[in-house]
């Protein structure tokens, strides 16, 4: 009897899981007892934290892009064919081309997407950097910016919760290098009544904002943008003018999740420790796709992929498992062009940011290169 594993999604979560499973189950695969099929919608795999560096001309697009087929263990079958329906009761995934993939175990790693269209005026009035084209567009706008007020705002939910702070601190250093700090006012807004969801990070960031003269406002949830008058309005009733608006648009999960009735807004109900879908213990959900109240970040995807690969390996090889996810997340946080800090936390341990240092910045730059080993399931 052949055990079929289908992984939907070729981002960090899906790719790492597939490669770890291929290594763990190598003998089963080569003897024909296990088949791993990975279904994804793009031939390219992008290291998404790299977009921030593209914005500031510190990485070229090709440096943060690899072919998906080059990252995968050759024992994994890759299909570039977007999933359009997931039928959990009949254990089958249907793709855009009409192909059907039946499975014994499914890993749903379909990720998230930005939905700027959900905020009126955002598409016309704002820059962002959560895809390659937009990151390049923002880079060019910053190169040509002659001075004025730059607003930084974000939607809920959004992935990579440290990105807004990183962007702001890097903007500060960008204009400092150009001797333009006297011509530029940075104005950061945040949806809750602090500047970051993690209190220790927020306390540190406020001190940095005040030291650097960066204006900030809290309880600001984008409601509407007037791209003609250059005004952004919030649900809370505040309005601010701007010369350049940079946002992180709100996110949703993949359309296939909603189309398959697996979860509202594309987020799938997921057991926070065992990582399977409620009522379907053969369906694992990882990365941005889960509804677990935890950061949507590459690091989360990475540690969850480790857990799911170990769980599946144990279940297939030995019939049971005790491996669980403890909520671990690790993030570097660039505090400018030259220094970075670092946080880790889990379900029970709050973060405690280290003092920013050049060493941590270099480690972050090093990890940007080492990521390809993570994707391959080596690091």
């Amino acid at each position: 009897m052949v055990t079929k594993i289908v992984i939907v999604g070729g981002g960090s979560a899906g790719t790492i899981t597939a490669n770890l499973l291929a290594r763990n189950l190598y003998k089963n695969i080569t003897s024909g007892k296990v088949i791993i099929n990975l279904i994804t919608d793009s031939p390219d795999h992008i290291y998404q934290p790299g977009y921030l560096y593209v914005v500031f001309d510190k990485a070229r697009p090709e440096e943060i892009t690899r072919k998906q087929k080059d990252l995968l263990d050759p024992h994994i079958n890759l299909f570039i064919d977007p999933a359009v329906n997931i039928d959990r009761d009949n254990r089958v995934v249907v793709t855009k081309s009409g192909r059907e993939f039946d499975y014994d175990y499914l890993v749903v790693a379909t990720g998230s997407r930005i939905v700027p269209e959900d905020v009126p005026g955002l598409q016309e009035g704002s820059y962002w950097f959560y895809d390659m084209q937009s990151a390049i567009r923002l880079r060019e706008a910053l190169m040509n910016f002659n001075g004025g007020k730059i607003m930084i705002s974000m939607g809920i939910p959004h992935k990579c919760p440290v990105a807004p702070l990183e962007l702001t601190f890097m903007l500060y250093d960008f204009f400092k290098q150009k001797d333009m700090l006297n011509k530029v006012q940075l104005h950061y807004t945040y949806p809750i009544n602090s500047v970051h969801v993690l209190e220790p990070v927020s306390n540190w960031a406020v001190r940095e904002f005040e030291r650097k003269g960066i204006k900030y406002d809290t309880f600001f949830n984008m409601e509407e943008i007037d791209p003609v008058k250059n005004v952004i309005s919030s649900m809370e009733g505040d309005k601010f003018g701007y010369d350049m608006l940079i946002t992180i648009p709100p996110h949703k999960g993949a359309q296939v999740i909603e189309d398959s009735g697996m979860g509202k807004n594309g987020w799938v109900p997921t057991d926070k420790k065992r990582l399977f879908n409620a009522n379907y213990e053969n369906v694992y959900v990882i990365g941005d796709t889960t509804d677990i109240p935890i950061s949507k970040a590459g690091s989360t995807a990475h540690f969850q992929a480790d857990v799911v690969a170990e769980r599946l390996t144990s279940i297939i090889s030995e019939g049971n498992t005790s491996i669980e996810y403890d909520g671990k997340v690790v993030c570097f946080l660039e505090s400018g062009f030259d220094e970075a800090t670092y946080i880790w936390f889990n379900y029970n341990t709050p973060p405690n940011p280290s003092p920013p240092s050049r060493m941590l910045h270099w480690m972050k730059l090093g990890y940007n290169r080492l990521y390809w080993l993570t994707a391959r399931g080596i690091l």
Partner: protein
């Protein structure tokens, strides 16, 4: 006994990041007008922050109480 029916429940206990208030704002933003949402928090500061935001935006705080060591609030979206 409550004289309204709950449309949605959001349990933020154990949420460090993105955190309880982010979860509350997201749930209220995505809800339809007149939706009643019940939230559970594990710390008092979150309740204070939640009340502040609900009043600032102009929605209705129907319940604010302590249950078995946790905090329960119920919000009706009217704006």
């Amino acid at each position: 006994m409550d004289d309204f029916s709950i449309d949605k429940v959001v349990d933020t206990r154990g949420s460090l990041c993105p955190g309880p208030i982010m979860a509350l704002i997201e749930a209220v933003k995505l809800a339809d007008i007149n939706t009643v949402i019940e939230f559970f928090f594990e710390d008092e500061q979150s309740v204070k922050d939640a009340s502040l935001w609900i009043n600032k935006v102009g929605n209705q705080l129907l319940v604010n109480e302590t249950v078995d060591g946790y905090f329960r609030i119920v919000v009706k979206k009217v704006k």
